[in-house]
């Protein structure tokens, strides 16, 4: 009797405990994504009716690339206790195909495959008929003669039919080739689109204890390293005296395996994946991360950014497919006041380089990135915007302007052919002419270079007619700053002579001077 009572109690307890652990499976929707430079935080939300007691809620179809220890989950009702949160990858469950393009392409392939099958059937049938056509070629048998007219008719028949069959077979072959080609293209397209689409998916299991049955809004988020962004700027020069139009865009990529459809996006320059160790000034290694180079077809490069973290809310909703391709989104646009001047280095290039000097640059808190340069509507090229400047004024090269031209002539002479002499004497006379062909008055900076010597005690260097220039003897640079009105020209003439002793005549070189290397913007 006691055993029967115990069995009944056990069954009741089993029933009770089964009723306590209700399992609910659901797929949540992505509400927003905060994209960091080399990671992304995906925010999900889902309202679920949770029964009273203990429940296990499983959110499925999540990216399999969740960074460890980054899952954060909350509910709309504070009375609900979240007991445990676990994450696992489900390799067995086929994730719902989210890329409609791939579905469409696969359907097309099935149709083409059927057409090819039908073509093969028809080809086989015609081939059989062609084989049978000449099997009984002896007309009328061997013993009995056949009239010539009959032979002519038979010959005409064979000839016509044979032509029809071969033509038909040829057409079928061509059509099959065409279909095979089409199928090959579709397969390539599918491979391209699904290169980063993982078949596996993650699941997050949340165990909650609910006092009363109710609808509960679950918000959860986690980090994935399979996303990121890089800045891309458009810089538009609209003319002297007008502000510089600066358009800030971002190239965003998603390789998480889950498409981000019509979501809110926020960009950030933070690095949330750098770990949970307490920062330490002494222990530099704790802050070091291994630079990423190439993952999922996305190339990474290291850039220097300031310690201040900048965040940018994107106004519009965007859809970013999980295909590792960069998608350009608009971030912000600024009208920036700038001082413009033209830099001319006639020794290297006869045309002027437009430079914008932007004060209070740091207040925009931008990070380095590729910048497209436009000059009065014309695309000039690309440059890399290095915002990590030491001072608060940024010099930005806005491209070459053919309206500002210079001509540099250098006449040099030497006493190299002299029979006797302790010094090698070289004289040079430089004439630079600058012309402003534009319709504006412009600020011009001309940079020229004279030889630099290691030992001015041995080498006698004499330069003349540089009263208007700033002369840096150590770098050998000469800088002239002036204004040029429209269609105005200016001539700069100076000369120098070098007397270098002929000390090492066994290794004698007439041109003992050396030029310092200077960098010039390259577009």
């Amino acid at each position: 009797m006691k055993a029967i009572i115990s069995l009944i109690l056990l069954l009741v307890f089993f029933q009770f405990s089964t009723a306590q652990n209700k399992e609910i499976e659901s797929t949540a929707d992505i509400k927003s994504v905060t994209i960091y430079n080399s990671s992304a935080e995906i925010n999900y939300a889902k309202e679920i009716t949770v029964p009273q007691g203990k429940s296990i809620i499983t959110f499925t179809d999540l990216t399999p690339y969740i960074v460890d220890n980054t899952i954060n989950i909350s509910t709309s009702n504070p009375d609900i206790d979240i007991i445990t949160v676990t994450e696992k990858i489900n390799y067995t469950k086929e994730r719902k195909e989210q890329n409609t393009k791939i579905v469409s392409l696969r359907d097309s392939i099935i149709i083409i495959d059927k057409e090819i099958g039908l073509l093969k059937c028809k080809t086989e049938a015609l081939g059989m008929e062609k084989d049978l056509l000449f099997k009984g070629e002896s007309i009328g048998g061997v013993a009995k003669g056949v009239a010539v007219s009959e032979i002519e008719k038979a010959s005409a028949f064979f000839s016509k039919r044979y032509y029809e069959l071969t033509s038909e077979l040829f057409n079928l072959s061509e059509k099959e080739k065409s279909l095979q080609n089409e199928m090959f293209k579709y397969n390539n397209q599918i491979r391209e689109l699904s290169s980063n689409t993982s078949k596996a998916s993650s699941e997050i299991q949340v165990t909650v204890l609910n006092p009363t049955p109710q609808k509960v809004l679950f918000n959860f988020k986690f980090l994935t390293a399979k996303g990121g962004w890089a800045p891309a700027y458009d810089c538009k020069y609209q003319g002297a005296g007008k502000p510089l139009k600066f358009i800030f865009r971002a190239n965003v990529f998603n390789a998480s395996g889950i498409n981000w459809e019509n979501i809110d996006i926020k960009l950030s320059t933070a690095s949330p994946t750098k770990g949970f160790d307490k920062p330490s000034i002494n222990n530099k290694k704790s802050n070091e991360s291994i630079p990423r180079t190439n993952e999922d077809g996305v190339k990474f490069k290291e850039i220097e950014v300031s310690n201040t973290i900048a965040e940018y809310d994107i106004k519009h909703k965007y859809s970013i497919p999980s295909d590792s391709k960069p998608y350009l989104i608009d971030v912000a646009a600024y009208d920036i006041n700038a001082d413009y001047n033209y830099l001319l280095i006639p020794i290297l290039d006869p045309f002027g380089f437009l430079i914008a000097k932007i004060p209070d640059w740091n207040k925009y808190n931008l990070i380095p990135g590729t910048t497209n340069i436009y000059n009065k509507g014309s695309y000039m090229g690309k440059t890399f915007l290095d915002t990590y400047t030491e001072n608060d004024t940024l010099s930005l090269y806005l491209g070459k302007d053919n309206n500002i031209q210079s001509v540099r002539k250098e006449n040099s002479s030497s006493n190299e052919q002299n029979i006797i002499g302790n010094y090698y004497v070289e004289k040079a006379e430089i004439n630079i002419t600058i012309k402003n062909n534009s319709s504006e008055k412009l600020s011009i900076q001309v940079l020229d270079q004279v030889p630099v010597f290691e030992d001015y005690e041995k080498v006698k260097f004499n330069i003349q007619n540089i009263e208007q220039a700033l002369f840096n003897k150590n770098e050998g640079s000469l800088t002239w700053n002036f204004q040029l009105a429209q269609n105005e020209s200016k001539a700069i003439d100076y000369r120098y002579d070098i007397k270098s002793p002929k000390n090492d005549i066994s290794d004698y070189r007439p041109m003992k001077r050396k030029y310092r290397s200077i960098s010039c913007p390259s577009f």
């Binding site: 302790n422 090698y424 005690e457 002793p501 002929k502 005549i505 004698y508």
Partner: protein, 306 residues
């Protein structure tokens, strides 16, 4: 007091200790690398801040002979000019001696951007402690043995063509030419030398500039004898590197002099970038019987670069 100052002081003291009391060349300095016989060498950065102390002695009580010299030189890079000072004393026997102070200068220029052309001159004031007569190699022949202590003067002239580092050189020297104000036949007579130095042939063998194979030849005209004699020397110097900065050098001058005797000057030298110390022996063998012709001498040569 620094080491440099101490060295200078020591050298000056040594000159006086050697009884700085000079003009017939005992043939040892007749070589390209001597600033007195080849003052054109002064126009070389190798001669900058250089002190040379030389002493030669017969160490014989019967035939006493000593020759001491102190030579100082400095090169001025910006003007390509070098100057030098030499103080010499030569003593023969117990009563005959002469000494002189020579002040030299050298200037260089460059020909065809390839060849160093150097010019040099040394003017000498000579104080003789001898009767009137003629000085010769290890010899003095008196002509009027009545008067002692007479001042005289002389001149050495030089012209050389060389590479920057003397990988090749040709130098021509004229020593003791008759000066217009000299009285002939009644004064102190010194021979006139016409010198030719050609080197360095060792560059064709191993290219080591510390080794040398050169030729020195000179004609000696004695006005007293009204005779010209010729001497020819081959100078051989080999170098053995001891450390990166120091080496051991050895060799000899091998000569046939005045169509009369063979002259040998073997030497060994310790050499580093600042200092050279050399010991040499000087002896002569008659061409007929290979018997000693003149007295033998031993020489110590110290060169220091400040």
């Amino acid at each position: 007091m620094s080491f440099k100052h101490l060295t200078v002081l020591l050298l000056v003291i040594m000159v006086y200790v050697n009884a700085a009391k000079c003009q017939v060349y005992n043939y040892t300095p007749i070589i390209h690398n001597d600033i007195e016989t080849n003052p054109s060498l002064l126009a070389s950065d190798k001669m900058n801040n250089r002190i040379q102390l030389y002493h030669q002695n017969s160490f014989s009580s019967l035939n006493t002979f000593s020759y001491s010299s102190l030579k100082l030189s400095k090169y001025f890079e910006p003007s390509f000019l070098g100057i030098g000072l030499s103080i010499n004393n030569t003593s023969m026997g117990n009563s005959i001696s002469y000494n002189h102070i020579g002040l030299g200068a050298g200037y260089r220029n460059v020909l065809f951007n390839k060849i160093y052309l150097k010019l040099g001159a040394t003017y000498k004031i000579i104080n003789t402690n001898s009767p009137y007569g003629s000085f010769d190699y290890f010899l003095f022949v008196p002509s009027a043995p009545t008067s002692y202590r007479k001042f005289n003067d002389g001149l050495n002239l030089a012209l050389s063509f060389s590479s920057a580092s003397d990988r090749y050189y040709v130098s021509m020297n004229l020593l003791n030419p008759d000066l217009p104000w000299h009285k002939t036949n009644i004064d102190i007579q010194f021979p006139t030398y016409y010198v030719l130095n050609v080197g360095n042939a060792m560059r064709f063998f191993d290219g080591d500039l510390n080794s040398e194979l050169s030729y020195s030849g000179f004609g000696k005209y004695s006005a007293f004898k009204n005779k010209m004699t010729y001497s020819h020397y081959i100078n051989i110097k080999l170098n053995t590197q001891l450390t990166r900065r120091s080496s051991f050098q050895y060799g000899s001058r091998l000569g046939f002099a005045e169509n009369d005797y063979f002259h040998f000057l073997p030497f060994i030298t310790y050499y580093n970038s600042k200092l050279a110390l050399s010991l040499s022996y000087n002896f002569h063998l008659s061409k007929i019987k290979f018997t000693p012709k003149y007295i033998s001498t031993t020489s110590l040569n110290l060169i220091y670069i400040l």
